[in-house]
């Protein structure tokens, strides 16, 4: 591999329909570098369903099934079962869905799938809204964000409800491996994917995938914003291995959330007071995470 810090081979090809600077494409690119050729993907309705190109073209070198919106968890259960029957269990089975298809409409199927313990990967590329249909809020949209259905307006109607913590919900299902990732830290992400290959049972990954179109920032900042999300501890990089918490990247210096918000148009309207509240909430969650690491270190 020489000086490259991630595997060289590409399984995701150029010529796709992703927006300039799309974080979701990096989420897929790195995932496939970790998984390799023996992989079958299932994706629901989401940006990726369009990005790969229209019939008869695909930008992937692995097979993929397009499914209905809400069923990714069930779709991968079916692939896994059929591969078992065919004696081809060495093939990685992967559900790859946006946050809507994971934690909102797709939640039932995901929960059912991991509860049954299927040997599958589930990767949520989290761009924090229903991007494919035009930036509507999802359960994964963070507090304070503008979306087309929380359009701020004169009444301050930004997203008020806290972000649904899909990661912790998956941990509560007692699956063997759960992890967060960010497209700005591909080495960490791919390491986690490789760990998943060594693990039998359901593996859940939530990959922060900044979206220039929906988050309202110039496309060249995608990786920078993905990095700031981790450095501000808004999106900490951690994994939970059979209940044991492990923070995989500790920022040398924790940055204030303001630096993250300043780069994105979707937070432009936030009053100081709200930013302060969010800072306190992030600080509290980061503290709780560190305590969880301490509490579970002997598991």
């Amino acid at each position: 591999m020489g000086k490259l810090t991630i595997p060289e081979e590409e399984y995701m090809l150029e010529g796709h329909m992703g927006c300039l600077g799309c974080g979701g494409t990096l989420a897929m690119r790195y995932l496939l570098k970790g998984l390799g050729k023996d992989t079958i993907l299932s994706i629901p309705a989401c940006c990726w369903a369009i990005m790969m190109g229209s019939f008869p073209y695909t930008n992937l070198k692995v097979p993929m099934h397009n499914s209905a919106f809400e069923v990714t968890g069930a779709a991968i259960s079916g692939i896994e079962a059929a591969l078992k029957v065919k004696g081809k269990e060495h093939i990685n089975v992967v559900g790859f869905a946006g946050d809507g298809g994971t934690i909102d409409i797709g939640f039932q199927a995901l929960s059912g799938c991991v509860e049954r313990g299927h040997n599958v990967f589930y990767v949520c590329y989290d761009n924090e809204a229903y991007m494919n249909t035009g930036i509507q809020r999802s359960g994964s949209t963070p507090v304070g964000a503008w979306t087309t259905t929380t359009p701020v307006g004169k009444t301050g109607d930004w997203k008020k409800a806290p972000k649904k913590n899909a990661v912790e919900i998956m941990v509560a299902h007692k699956i063997p491996y759960t992890a967060t990732a960010s497209v700005a830290y591909p080495e960490d992400y791919i390491k986690k994917v490789l760990k998943g290959k060594e693990t039998k049972g359901p593996k859940y990954y939530q990959v922060l995938s900044p979206c220039p179109t929906g988050w309202k920032y110039p496309p060249e900042k995608t990786v920078e914003i993905g990095r700031l999300a981790v450095q501000t501890c808004i999106y900490p990089l951690y994994e939970v291995v059979n209940g044991r918490y492990n923070i995989t990247f500790k920022p040398a210096k924790k940055k204030p959330v303001k630096e993250y918000f300043e780069l994105q148009g979707r937070f432009r309207h936030l009053p100081e007071k709200v930013i302060e509240e969010i800072q306190q909430s992030v600080d509290k969650d980061w503290e709780i995470l560190q305590r969880k690491v301490e509490m579970t270190k002997d598991l």
Partner: protein, 423 residues
Amino acid sequence: MSTTSIEKTEKHTTTTKTGVKKVMHGNYAASYGAKVARAEVIAAYPITPQSQVVEKIAEFTSSGEMKAQYIKVESEQSAMAALITASQTGARTFTATSAHGLTLMHELLMWASGARLPIVMVNVNRAMAPPWSVWAEHTDSIAQRDTGWMQFYCETSQEILDTIIQCYKVCEQEDIMLPALINEDAFYLSHTVEPVEVPHQELVDKYLPPFNPKPELTLNPDHPAVFGSLSKPDEWYPEFRWMIHEAMERAKKRIKDADSEFGKIFGRSYGGLLDLYKCDDAEVVLMCAGTLASTTREAIDELRNEGKKVGLARIRTFRPFPVEDIRALAEKVQAIGVMDRCFTFGYEGPFFTEVKGALYHANNKPKLKGYITGMGGRDVDVQLVKKIFADMYKVKDGKQDAETVWVDLKADVNNMNAWLKVR
């Protein structure tokens, strides 16, 4: 009816050249059908009155009798989604459901046919809520008319088992590749116990080869492709749909061939698309689907003894609709009555509408009348069918007072067997 009592009766068996006869209800007949058809992946969710189908299959898979993966999904929607991918990965797939479970799958049913996947599903026909009802009605399956699935209606438990085997044989053909819905009436078939012959496995294996789709048409890393991606108006969406239509049309003859070949091996066949009983010289024919047909046969036998030339044309397949067979029947018959165990609000009985439509371009157009019967599982007895035949004679003789009626309603205390005019 507890499982244990059925277990006891199942132990009493008779072996014939073609199979082992056991006494069982329709639900277990479906389970045995899936077993001898060697279904490989089952994903199912329980719902009354289907639950025994999946319970029995769970017994088969747990004991190792059936080498299949049974995914105990958390909803019917997930059941169909899991089977779609399992089928796309090259496995033979099976499930069962009823009413609200079937309708919950509606989106996914569309997906299965669009993806050209030969999934076989047994549906226990049950009325839709509200009000809650668990009894026989065809609304649930008729509502899936437009999903691109073949639809079969079974009259006996034996037919359920046999049709499962026949359906895999038809559906998995390279140039068919469409899913099939096999319907059985709630309680009349699902829970009524009768003798059913489970065909010998070796004979089924000779009739039904393993599912072997071309590798490039499956999810396979050696043949990477994306299934179901975007297809624009100008680039091939309509053509993909036309190809489904062609496959459905092709299926008509294949269904008939599969049925008669089955008959040659096992001694039982079901009339292909349209199952005719005493129609050769009939003046008046009743058409219906499901267990209404067996009641109608009894009524016909009684009426024939009284000298009436009556017959039954049982609609075995609602899709593909037996247009040609119905037009051929119409050549000889003076009047056709259609019994619907369902109703499309805002119009009329859907079986009636479709028969009527099929006859619009027929050479000979018999007189037609539609009868809505047995909604919500209300019993349709021989007496009622004989009344319907009597009414059809009036129709035949030009004394038709209504296009279509809803029979046997408790309209008011003075009219507790009312026939109410729809149109």
